[in-house]
């Protein structure tokens, strides 16, 4: 396998973007990444989108991407695995380049969610759960994560306040991210006083419905060094992918995201690193409890101590391992197919030293973790800046 580098990144702002269509978002973001890489053509395109059929009545996004980017004829692939669709597209591009089949490959994750009513958007998202045996009985996504939260609180003594602190941190981080949907500070009292959705989760424990797109351009490392060294080169050193059961009730331990454990182990093994080597991470905080479970699943703390780690401030920007410096899904927004790619962009910007007001002091090695459904799939990506210490 050839080594792979990220040579360009670009994204749209995240939010309720009434004046932009699905294809506008897809193209705007793709062009930004291609401009950043200084390429005007690519050998292949990978599009990550969860449910453009249900949100926009439009499938076949691969063809739309090539067509509206003015690249008819270029092979394009659309990838779907619920909320990890973006990371899955990135994996497709990584393998395409690593294998030697293609050289310059564009990855765009996109979701246009506000062209349908909130009810329809929620119904579309629900298809990431087991429709026949969860959805039929009236379960919702906040409901599934609420059941994880209640089990975690009962088993480990995780507190309501610890959940709130995840939202408080991620909202504070988003204040410094110009692309974030919710640039507003929240207090623990505000989280706990917001409307209850599914006990114990309030609306401020939940990520929002968002429009947006995010893109990266990848190339073989050697080619990147030769032709695309206008930015600090960022190398893909680890990529792990795993599945979990589709229904939450089939999970042996309801408090453990076993797909994240496995994806993390595979990514660490490929990188030859462990959790202690990671400088910062973007975790999939679709609900506050998810970030707590993921801290544990990736070995950043012991099992059951994700809440405690958060309460100790270890995940703050100046803590032991800054988590979701971008604002996370919670405050940056969660345009489902774009989310995984946007996590990778945050790693690249931090590693390059281009993250502006939210730049971390130590950002040589970053980890992004994307999660599908209630834990049915996960991809973990580890990136390193060339010339970094490892």
């Amino acid at each position: 396998m050839r080594e792979v580098a990220i040579i360009g990144v670009g994204m749209t702002e995240f939010g309720e973007l009434w004046d932009k269509s699905l294809r506008d978002l897809l193209v705007e973001s793709s062009l930004k990444a291609m401009d950043d890489a200084k390429v005007d053509a690519v050998d292949a395109i990978y599009v990550g989108a969860m449910s453009s059929g249900l949100f926009d009545n439009q499938e076949h996004l691969a063809s739309i991407a090539a067509d509206y980017l003015g690249m008819v004829g270029v092979p394009a692939t659309r990838c779907e695995s619920a909320c990890i669709s973006g990371s899955l597209a990135f994996k497709g591009a990584f393998l395409d380049v690593a294998s030697g089949y293609s050289d310059i490959v564009l990855v765009t994750g996109v979701e246009k969610m506000t062209d349908v009513s909130g009810d329809k958007a929620v119904a579309g998202l629900s298809t990431a759960a087991d429709d026949e045996f969860e959805g039929y009985n009236g379960v919702t996504f906040p409901g599934l994560y609420a059941m994880i939260a209640n089990a975690h609180m009962k088993k480990y003594g995780t507190t309501r306040r610890q959940l709130s602190l995840v939202a408080v941190k991620n909202h504070a981080n988003a204040l410094k991210n110009p692309n974030a949907q919710f640039r507003m500070k929240v207090t623990p009292e505000a989280v706990e006083g917001s409307v209850m959705i599914a006990d114990p989760l309030h609306i401020l424990d939940c990520s929002p419905i968002t429009d947006g797109a995010a893109s990266v351009v990848v190339a073989p490392l050697e080619l990147a060094k030769e032709k695309f060294a206008h930015h600090k080169i960022v190398k893909v050193i680890g990529l792990g992918h795993a599945t979990g059961t589709i229904a939450l009730h089939s999970r042996e331990d309801i408090t453990e995201l076993d797909a994240v454990v496995k994806a993390g182990e595979r990514a660490y093994k490929m990188a030859g690193l462990g959790p202690d080597d990671i400088d910062f991470a973007e975790l999939h905080d679709c609900f506050t409890i998810a970030e707590i479970c993921e801290l544990e699943a990736l070995g950043f703390c012991a099992k059951g101590e994700g809440g405690l780690m958060t309460e100790r401030g270890e995940t703050l920007p100046d803590g032991k391992i800054p988590i979701n410096i971008s604002g996370g899904l919670k405050a940056k927004g969660h345009p489902v197919g774009a989310t995984g790619v946007s996590q990778i962009i945050e790693l690249v910007e931090q590693i390059r030293g281009d993250a502006g007001d939210r730049q971390l002091k130590k950002a040589d090695i970053g980890l992004a973790q994307n999660l599908g459904g209630s834990g049915g799939s996960s991809i973990v990506t580890i990136l390193k800046g060339l010339g970094s210490r490892v």
Partner: protein
């Protein structure tokens, strides 16, 4: 509602039909074509024990559009005595009286209604089991 999809699930939803792996004895609900434990493809029909306990739950305050008129309702993961698990509404109990570990019994209930005609969809819910 698509009738063929609904009818296909009647054995599971009305009668809680579970399947037991002929080789290793693991019980599955709903049925599967291959055992995830021993890879055997032979199963025998088994009764899903109608008694179980609550592993975790939540109270849904904001539901899907077609369940909104039922809110607030309790939903949870129930583990039956033979080890099979399912997600079901917990009925006949006030939300504040629900607790992890409580004993439950499965019951045949109305789940929802659908379409302009309000066709009723049935299935299982769990109710408290009093000793």
């Amino acid at each position: 509602m698509d009738p063929q999809k609904y009818w296909r699930q009647i054995p599971a939803r009305y009668r809680l039909e579970a399947y037991k792996c002929k080789n290793c004895g693991k019980v599955f609900f709903p049925k599967r074509l291959i055992c995830d434990n021993c890879k055997s493809r032979e199963f025998v029909k088994a009764e899903h024990s109608d008694k179980g306990k609550l592993l975790t739950y939540t109270v849904i305050r904001t539901g899907p559009a077609d369940f909104q008129d039922q809110t607030p309702y309790v939903i949870g993961v129930v583990e039956s005595e033979n080890g099979a698990r399912l997600t079901a509404q917990i009925a006949d109990v006030e939300p504040e009286n629900v607790a992890i570990g409580m004993k439950l019994r499965m019951a045949f209930r109305k789940i929802n209604k659908t379409g302009d005609a309000g066709v009723i969809m049935y299935g299982y819910k769990a109710v408290p089991e009093f000793e």
